[in-house]
Symmetry: C3
Subunit: 130 residues, 3 copies
């Protein structure tokens, strides 16, 4: 169900992109109760001036051109505690696997409803017919 | 009003891209009560490793590199039955016009409010001034 | 907090892209109570057929290939009056700085919650631990 948009620098190596993708998926399954195989992601590679962040940093966090923007659309219902653990798992996992700075891992969530998905075939899989 | 993001393989022909675009618009007008001429869409063409889906499939649906991700932001208020008919119209229409597999048509909806749109001119067209 | 996606024509000059980016940020700070330095934006450059708008226009607004799609995800709570002023500030500011037509400035907002953000470090900065 989650749709994950990952925006990163064009220079990012294929191995790093693949590791970021896997860490996000694994954090979903391990921490956020996402079903196995529910891995749908879109990667966008960007020229340097296309990833805009504050030069002065924000809330004490500083950023580099290696910033990774992650926006996840998924079903509403996860608690604040789950979301906290989810952010932590992603930033720590990506840092451990790729060496990217945890400060450069930027995440936003959008909550939607169960009827807002079709996983193919023109069907609404999460809301069965009566 | 709807904003439609369509992410697909860079190899997709221009004719197929155009047909996908037209089918989504027509399904909106025919099934989901979207006004005529309300056709705003953004196409993203991707390298193969940028469209990520589960190799094992999900919920009995299998995917190929020709997967088409469609994310639509529109006004809240449509019923589950309308959304079901909308998914069906898109998948069947795209299959009929382009030959793409219905299983490769992946859709997500995001509901927003009437005041969340400016269609140009710096105005909030859907909420007239008092 | 806001995440701003800006989709525009590949021909747009770097100066214009930069001006659009600055105007949106400044409108957020001046009109919509967004904190200073909270400037996170992603730019997407598109081939001509990737920005789809109605040839007949919509609601009396007409568009050109220089259309700029702006989608902003931010925290819920802003009033209709604030959103109106925000649209106006963006369209007028971009027109004044770049000469782009105000009709070509297209905006959509998505409201989310305070817990839906991690600005780096794997932390949920807007919801402090108890």
């Amino acid at each position: 169900m989650p749709l994950v948009r990952i925006d990163l620098a064009a220079e990012t190596t294929e191995q790093t992109v693949s590791a970021i993708s896997d860490v996000i998926y694994q954090a979903m399954v391990d921490v956020a109760n996402v079903p196995e195989h529910d891995k749908f992601q879109i990667i966008y590679r960007h020229a340097k001036d296309e990833l805009v962040y504050p030069a002065a940093g924000y809330l004490g966090v500083s950023y580099t051109p290696k910033i990774v923007f992650i926006q996840i659309t998924w079903n509403a219902g996860r608690t604040i505690e789950v979301k906290k653990a989810f952010y932590k798992a992603i930033a720590e996992g990506i840092h451990a696997k790729t060496g990217l700075r945890k400060e450069d891992i930027w995440i936003n969530l959008i909550d939607v409803k169960r009827e807002d998905w079709s996983f193919g075939n023109g069907e609404m899989q999460y809301v069965p017919s009566e």
